[in-house]
Symmetry: C2
Subunit: 343 residues, 2 copies
């Protein structure tokens, strides 16, 4: 018997998930939304429950050469809380699975848990369980968060409507620049272990990479302002990827305005030093863990003075067509392959 | 600065979990029960929510030399459902995290998911999300199950009472015997790849190891019989370990009756062939994924004719003292180090 062999790389991560999830149609009456959004949605009776999981694998998602264990524990919680935030939900409980090789001491594991605890306190979630096991190779951290949201306030990816305003929190591209700096300093250190890392003036971008903060603050502020986003997603893979998710799932298009993209001053400085393009970092860099969302035009006045929110464009009825209006007056189409400033 | 280094092995899995969990006291009003039971318990308003997570790591929990990928996908769901069953709960939704090295093809991942799907159908749960990532080395499957239970029906580990009857479902020790057979056949195969595995008459014990079934059937039957266990735990680490968990957490003791321990005929036959002791396998073998629970004496008549349930002893008021009454008329104390027939 011969078996065909298809490499995972030929499908890509999204293609693989799509292919695998085809066979799984929710059957239970309390499953409101299954695979395909930042978190799954369950009917709890009075409100909705939310559940999301993420696995961080050493050598793939982090490099222990420059990721302190405490930051790593923090980040593992934060990136999952970010998925609950992206549903406009509140995180409640978390479980943590840890795979450890024997090069980790009890003290090292305690460092990871110190970061987990700090994140649990910052995001007001309870660690309620987990599984600790040995691993033959690297460190694996698997986190699942359970959250809740009022039924009328849940924000999906597929409900953006034409003329809605596109909003994004914080700034974009800084986590990517932080990673480039850390990678560079690692190379310098490997060439000469006596060299000290040169991180002066780069603290912000490095922090953005090592210890991202889920934007629960904005979820609470939207609630206070009386605004329910018409759609929402968190920016984990870069703005271009996320806006395409919203547009394809909502069957709409979008116009992005380059000069409105929020890019921190330090991101500009580092990008100059590294000869990288800051707009490309904002569009494709990833790991910002900001929130990208849409609001009704009627809600604009309620949030226009919030300094954490940038208004970067609007939704159109041209399904699947996402355009970046550049500072130079050009219109660049954004495609699934990502966006390249120099293409 | 010198840092002390404590090896994880000096604490053991339970010691490590105990040390790490000390810093985490639940703070939210809807966290009913955190770390320390088969699943965490959350207040959803009308009923309780349950959440549990387990990580299976290649080379630690399974050996791909004899674990078919489809069975592995099934087992990953089943062992988590077993933790929900152990709370007397009903599983509803599941999320799956998968870490894959590039030696896995799309077809291999589809085999894993075929097993996940079969288990989802058998246990009536919806797969609602997940995370698929690359891994530098082996296969990692991390599963989290969300379930529900009526508030008055939840079964904890710490609520057994003196004079309650000790019950266990199915049979014990067979999964351990299955593992011994698979390990033996692997050695034979490695010595001579032309040898075919000798599994005739061993199908049951092998199946118990490769494709364990969470005992949701018994959870439903207890419900029909109108019986709520006074305490419950699933048998993942062997009967001795689980009865000690119940007794220490409930501050009671127990008498176990050796001749009442359910051991399958095939387990006896294989144990003779391998020169192993079947009672030791039942006490310490692990991976049976049966349910160990206690009932009030008043409830005995409601379940005494259920062929899936064995009545293996009773609870005493002697806190922490667990005794096995042997067929030979001896009294063996069961300790945390496990029980050895030949000690």
């Amino acid at each position: 018997m011969t078996q065909s062999r298809t490499e995972i790389a030929t499908l890509g991560e999204f293609g693989l998930i799509h292919r695998l999830s085809e066979g799984f149609q929710p059957a239970l009456p309390d499953t409101v939304r299954g695979i395909g959004d930042d978190a799954a949605v369950m009917d709890l009776g009075g409100e909705y429950g939310l559940i999301t999981t993420d696995m961080l694998v050493e050598g793939v998602h982090f490099d222990l050469a420059f990721s302190p264990l405490r930051h790593l524990g923090y980040k593992a919680i934060s990136v999952n809380v970010s998925d609950i935030a992206a549903m406009n939900g509140i995180p409640h409980q978390v479980v943590v699975g840890l795979g450890l090789s024997n090069r980790f001491s009890v003290e090292a594991v305690e460092e990871i848990y110190a970061g987990v605890k700090a994140a649990c306190e910052d995001f007001k979630v309870d660690l309620v369980g987990g599984d600790t096991t040995s691993s033959r190779s690297g460190l694996i951290i698997s986190v699942t968060v359970f959250g809740k949201v009022a039924k009328e306030k849940v924000a999906y990816r597929n409900t953006a409507r034409p003329n809605d305003i596109l909003c994004v929190t914080g700034d974009l591209g800084s986590a990517y620049m932080g990673l480039q700096i850390l990678e560079r300093e690692k190379q310098v250190y490997m060439a000469n272990p006596n060299m000290q890392p040169e991180l002066e003036g780069k603290d912000y971008v490095v922090q953005r990479q090592l210890k991202p903060e889920a934007r629960m603050d904005v979820v609470y502020e939207l609630e206070e302002a009386g605004v329910v986003p018409t759609s929402m997603i968190d920016v984990s893979d870069g703005l271009a990827s996320e806006i395409l998710h919203i547009c394809s799932q909502s069957k709409v298009g979008a116009i992005l305005v380059e000069e409105n993209l929020p890019i921190d001053e330090q991101t500009f400085l580092v990008s100059t030093e590294l000869n990288l393009d800051p707009v490309t970092a904002a569009m494709n860099g990833g790991e910002d863990y900001e929130l990208l969302f849409t609001i009704r035009q009627d809600d604009y006045n309620k949030v226009k003075n919030n300094p954490k929110i940038s208004f970067i464009g609007y939704i159109t009825d041209k399904a699947g067509e996402v355009i970046l209006n550049t500072k130079g007056g050009n219109r660049y189409p954004i495609t699934a392959q990502g966006w390249n400033h120099f293409s």
